[in-house]
Every structure is written in structure tokens, then in C-alpha cells.
Amino acid sequence: MENYSLPPKPKNSVYKKIRNIIISLLVIAMYVWTFVSINIDWGRAIERAINNFNRVIPRLFNPDWSATGDVAMSMLETVFIAFAGSLMAAVIAVPLSFLAARNMMGGVIVSTIGKWILSAVRAFPDIILAILFVVAVGPNAFAGVLAIAIGSTGMLGKMFAEIIESIDMNVVEAMEASGANKIQILFYGVIPQITPEFLSYAIYRFEVDIRASSILGIVGAGGIGTMIIFASNNRNWNEMGTILLAIIIVVTIIDFASAKIRRKIV
């Protein structure tokens, strides 16, 4: 009879143990700090919720159909904002992404600077950009377009740069070897490789931008957000229900269509 025994357990190194203890202590400290110092007035919140519940929730699920026309027009404006904004972003992002891609413009310095610019742009939430543009060009839908355009450029530029970095460089080298100039390499060696994925990401970003542009109106940058803020100020929760329904329907349709198109492209 053979003696079966379990293999020896792998030994944890002292370094790893200490590291794990430090990490858990940090996480515990973070939570203690958070829960001790945050002050939420539970009593008031619960009291308000009990008072307001019947005035808010049932009315949200009972949409005001008479507002359908206005809501539809605002939603259309939202879609227009997202469309114009993401298309602008897709166009601006292309040169920036070539700048940020390590295998295109040569130097590591250029690519690092390009990447820094793109991450700096990405750090601004869309709505903060919208605030800046509302101050700059006035409270209208075009401020929303600009906010979406700048906000999306950061993310699209980063994605585009990653796509360019992942292309098959053999094609480019082969073209270089057979005497093609820079422009020819760009048009016949690089662009055919990146086009499907660029389009796919641009369409995906349009999906994201629909969601983003639906709230820009809260700071005055047009679209359905304007109606949201009016409905909430007037405590018109039936209309809020209609708006919510419109957002859910439009976002779902565009997500679905975009997924279909992207599957076809790539």
C-alpha cells in the first residue's frame, strides 16, 4: 500500500507576508477613516424619503404622455450633440494618435508628450468641460458639442494610438524596402490596417457620448438635460418618468445598432 500524502504547501516568502499585512492595514485604515469622518444625516434622509416616497416613485412609473413631443425633440437634440461631438473628436483624435503612437512619428519624446496631452484631456469629466464651454459660448447646444468633442478626443486618441502601435510593421518595412515614400506607406501600409478598428472605436464612443450628452443640459449645454433640470425643479416627476423612458429607449436602440455595425466592421 502506497502512502499517499499531499504535496508540501508552497512557502510564502517573508517579503510577501509583510507586503500583504501592510496592504490590508492600509485598506482597513482607509475604511475606518472614511466611515468615521463622513457625516450623513440618516434621520433626515429617512424622514424625507418616507414623506416623499409616494410623491416621487409612483409618479416616475406613470409617465406624462402629453410631454412626449417636447421630450422627443430634446432627445433628438441630444443625439445631434453626441453625433457632432463624437465625429469631431474622431477627426481631431487621428493626428493626435499618430503623435502619441510609439511606432509612427519616431521619437519616444514625441510619443510621451502626445500621451501626456491625451491623458490630461481625459482627466476632465465631460460636464466640467461643458461648464467651461457654457461660460465661453453661452448656454446652448453648441457648448455641449464642444464639450463632447474635447472629452472624447482624449479617450479616442488613446485608443487610436494603441491600435496604431499594434499594427503589423512588416507591411510597412516591406513597403519601405521597395522604395515607397512616407505618404505611400501611410495610405497603402498603415491606413488599411487601422481603418476598421478606428471606425469601431469611434462608433463605440458615439454610444458613450449619447449617455454623456443626455446630462449636459444640467449645466445649460442643451439636450434633454435641460428638461431634466426643469422637471426636477418643478417636482414634475411624471415628466421625469417620460424623460427617463426616452433616455432608456434611445440609448438601448443606439447601443444595439452600434453593436451590430461594429460586429460587421471588425
Partner: protein, 271 residues
């Protein structure tokens, strides 16, 4: 096309791209351009001066924001910390709540199809509602404060997190799970011993990713009264106090970049 194939003479070389594709691409291009021009027209119709006027005006207005008022930094530090705490709490609650939802929304674990479809549909609808809209509704329900903000963040991030994690679960190696089942493990044992060890690194990474999203979202929740630094920003903008507003925006910018940097480093170490 058939004649082309039969006689490939030098003067009748077929084009690189088929004519049909070229036509399609041209039509799509003009449709996209048309919608773009319509959108540009539509969004600028209420604007005095139009595009060029706006761009010219932009630089004169942007000047009002500079220089940012550094004196307010001590006054806005408290709300900024509060904002980060909101994101921490919301991410934690969402990470806990997401576990059952993600398992229910994974096709390979939830073999009972109607339940899977129901959970998926619920998550899809949840994800279509923007965070600020949730915040507006919760502020209406609970009044102005941190609590509606946290609740909005929880629900908003739950949709994203549950979807991402259910996709991770769907891509795991099913062999350990089958082995556990074959040797008599019940559902919970299978999940605990075969599934969780496989998804834990991705789970942590995705939670950190959602934390980044929540930080970005939480800084603006105050615009609708849901607590945090956005509330102060909204007040300062309301008073046309642009240098103060600029300082707040710069602080938000720095905090977002620092937290994203730390989170990215941790995620790189994890995976």
C-alpha cells in the same frame, strides 16, 4: 466581373476595391456628413454670432478664469475629501452587491435561462440611466446631501461592474468547476472553490476601474445637490466667481489624475 476573370489583360486590371464597396462607402460617407452638417446647424441655431463668433468670444471669456484663486484651497479641501469618501463607500457597496448579480448574469453559471435573461435585461436597463439623472431622482427623494449621491453612484456602478464581472466569469476555465461538480460539490462549493479563485484578480482590477469612474462621477454629483465638491463649484459659478471655480476645477483635475495613476499601477501589478 466574369469577363474580367476570363481575360486578365494588362489594360483591364480589376480595381483593388470592388465597385459595389466603393459605392457603399461613398453613400455612407455622404450620409454621415449630412447628419453632421444637420447636427451642426441644429445645435447652433439658437446661437448669436454663430461658430466664428463663439470661438472668438471663447478666449476673452476663458481669460476670466485666470489666474485661479489659490486662497480657496483650504476651504475646498474638506468637500474634496468628502467626495473621495463618497466614491470609496459607493464602490465598496457596489462591489458587494455585484457578486450575486454578476453570477446570475453569467451564462455558464446560471444555467436556468429565464433568470439569466431577466438579470441581463435588468442590468442593461440600469446601465442606460446616466449617473446624474439617478442623482436628480434621489435628491428629490432623500433631499440634498451625501446619501443620495452615494446611492446614485452605487446603482450606476452596479450596472457597469456586474456586466464586466459577468463577462469575466463567462470566460473562466470550466474544467475545475466540472471537476468539483463531478466530485459532489454543491452550487456554493463550486462557486467558492472553483470560480472565485479564478476571477479574484480580475474582480479586484475591475473594482478599482469602477472606483476611477466613481471618482469622476462623484466630483460632478454636487451640481444637482448630491453632495461633494460639485456643490461648491456650482455655487461659485452661480456667483460668477470664476477664479474660485477654476481653482476647484484644477483641484478636481489633480485628484482625478493622482487616483487614476495609483489605480492603474495597482491594476498592472494585479494582472
Amino acid at each position: 466581373m466574369t469577363t474580367d476573370n476570363n481575360s486578365l489583360t494588362p489594360e483591364k486590371v480589376p480595381p483593388i476595391y470592388p465597385v459595389k464597396t466603393k459605392m457603399q462607402v461613398t453613400i455612407i460617407f455622404f450620409v454621415v456628413l449630412g447628419i453632421y452638417l444637420l447636427s451642426m446647424f441644429w445645435t447652433q441655431r439658437q446661437m448669436a454670432g454663430g461658430f466664428s463668433g463663439a470661438i472668438g468670444n471663447m478666449f476673452t471669456v476663458i481669460e476670466k478664469f485666470f489666474p485661479p484663486n489659490t486662497a480657496v484651497i483650504s476651504a475646498i479641501w474638506g468637500p474634496m475629501v468628502e467626495t473621495i469618501q463618497m466614491a470609496i463607500i459607493a464602490t465598496t457597496i457596489a462591489a458587494i452587491l455585484t457578486v450575486p448579480l454578476a453570477i446570475l448574469a453569467a451564462e455558464n453559471i446560471t444555467t436556468f435561462r429565464p433568470l439569466y435573461i431577466l438579470t441581463r435585461t435588468f442590468l442593461n436597463i440600469l446601465r442606460t440611466i446616466p449617473d446624474l439623472v439617478l442623482a436628480v431622482i434621489f435628491v428629490g427623494l432623500f433631499g440634498i446631501g451625501l446619501f443620495p449621491g452615494i446611492l446614485a453612484l452605487v446603482i450606476f456602478s452596479l450596472g457597469i461592474l456586474a456586466k464586466l464581472i459577468s463577462e469575466t466569469i463567462e470566460s473562466v476555465d470550466m474544467n475545475p468547476l466540472e471537476a468539483m461538480r463531478a466530485s459532489g460539490g454543491n452550487v456554493f462549493q463550486v462557486i467558492w472553490y472553483a470560480l472565485i479563485p479564478q476571477v479574484l484578480p480580475q474582480f479586484t482590477s475591475l473594482v478599482l476601474y469602477v472606483f476611477e469612474i466613481n471618482i469622476r462621477a462623484s466630483v460632478v454629483l454636487g451640481l444637482v445637490g448630491a453632495g461633494g465638491i460639485g456643490l461648491i463649484l456650482n455655487q461659485q459659478l452661480g456667483f460668477y466667481n470664476y477664479p474660485n471655480a477654476m481653482m476647484i476645477i484644477i483641484l478636481i483635475f489633480i485628484v482625478v489624475i493622482v487616483i487614476e495613476y495609483i489605480s492603474t499601477k495597482i491594476r498592472e501589478a494585479l494582472l
